[in-house]
Symmetry: C2
Subunit: 275 residues, 2 copies
């Protein structure tokens, strides 16, 4: 069994040092409580509601920033432990809304968010590569960021590439929903898990930032599509013990195979030159 | 506004005459209550739990079956009215799990279910064509059947082809779910609606058939992804007044465009020669 923990943090925009400290504490706590895979929110180190590109640039870092090495050291306390966290990435002259996969051996992969949401495109350049799917002692972990999860092509691709778990740092701004309904993005995660028989861990954020409230939707969904745990309101975390290898069995019944029953020979207009 | 009604029927396997009568009554009632678009379940005229192909063949019909003409006549009572219903289709030597689109002018299109579920493949041949998207006075109606809805490629294709409403005859066998949770397929419909900003009407069935119970999940979801009405348990219907043209606005915010933000240049492995 793999203990998957998604942590709901309240980063503060522009406070790199404070955010790193909060993330470090969260990581240490999660590992102490037995987490094998820890997911932190999108842009956990930088905050989200930037007003200018300069603001974003001031808190953007490269994957060789010392705090990643510190996190790798912490991860060394638990064999096979993996961290997936969002951060503002500085790369040559561009900024990316990125997620790093970190193990005891350091940063193993950086994914740059492809589907930028709303004003993110003012500050960040979109990524140009598919989500990484990393083979870990716990199974294969696919990584994407927030709005990426709402593009069924992207989640399907990553599941087809063999991901057992999608680790998804997010910042979901609070939107309207009818009384008694779940956060819409959580519903999308549940449906995505079920359609692809893949587990999903999403770390959302809390804390009002420059007038923006957040959905506080942090949770863990099993490959069967049901929510195993959620963080609720405020800072906190969601944890679930999952056998990630179960995600590989796409047989819903003896005759049904969620992947084998696809009809790629009939699928059209999904791929292309793009805009 | 378009009144969309999905009817939850309890067909009986093998009882073609009785099933047609029940469907006729349901259609008449829905039209009298102001429905503009009526959706009936998958295999509404035949029942579902066949034991042999001969059983299915005995209740399979061609689109020139007289009851379609009778339904067209009924539809003439309400200008612009459209019926989408599932039926077992006899075509040359093969049987298909099909859906017919009927207007006052007769059968306008027949869609043959592509993604057959479980033992359906014993009785039916899979379709080989994309869902039809029909231009009607109420907007563009896309048609698929049951398990098709769980293939995100298929729903995305149909939404990209311009569907404002997906009309989905279904028979969802009752599966396990945690206390308090919605039917999993309804969640998939809600997520699909939201990811594509398309309305979805799904007509499920009730009535135990040869030991199989059904989810009784009939409902209408708006393009915003929220459930507008559901039929509840037993026979009945769900109705909602929707402006189907609203589905065409894919702008979630001023800068977000659910279709324009897609990255088809990066989507890979979704289309292909197939098996």
């Amino acid at each position: 069994m793999t203990r998957v923990t998604a942590v709901q943090l309240a980063p503060r925009v522009g406070d790199l040092v404070g955010n790193v400290q909060r993330a470090t504490t969260a990581l240490r706590d999660a590992l102490e409580q037995g987490a094998d895979v820890v997911v932190l929110p999108e842009l956990a180190t930088s905050g989200y509601v930037f007003e200018t590109e300069d603001e974003a640039r001031a808190v953007a870092v490269r994957p060789d920033a010392p705090f990643f090495a510190e996190w790798a050291r912490l991860l060394g306390s638990r064999p096979g432990a993996v961290l997936v966290t969002g951060f503002a990435e500085l790369a040559d002259e561009a900024l990316y809304n990125s997620a790093a996969v970190v193990t005891a051996d350091g940063v193993q992969a950086v994914y740059r968010k492809v589907h930028l949401w709303d004003r993110e495109r003012v500050f960040f350049r979109p990524g140009n590569a598919a989500p990484p799917v990393l083979d870990t002692p716990h199974g294969r972990i696919g990584v994407m960021v927030c709005f990426d999860l709402e593009f069924p092509e992207w989640t399907r691709m990553t599941a087809l590439a063999g991901a057992d778990l999608l680790a998804v740092p997010t910042n979901w701004p609070l939107g309207p929903r009818p009384e008694g309904e779940r956060v819409a993005e959580v519903q999308i995660a549940m449906a995505t898990a079920r359609m692809n028989h893949v587990a999903i861990a999403f770390a959302d954020r809390s804390g009002r930032e420059r007038g923006v409230d957040w959905s506080e939707g942090t949770g863990i969904v099993g490959a069967d599509g049901w929510l195993r745990d959620s963080a609720g309101s405020g800072t906190g975390s969601a944890s679930a013990d999952l056998d990630l290898l179960e995600s590989r069995d796409k047989g819903q019944t003896e005759l049904v195979d969620l992947f084998g029953d696809r009809r790629p020979d009939l699928y059209r207009g999904l791929e292309g030159a793009g805009s």
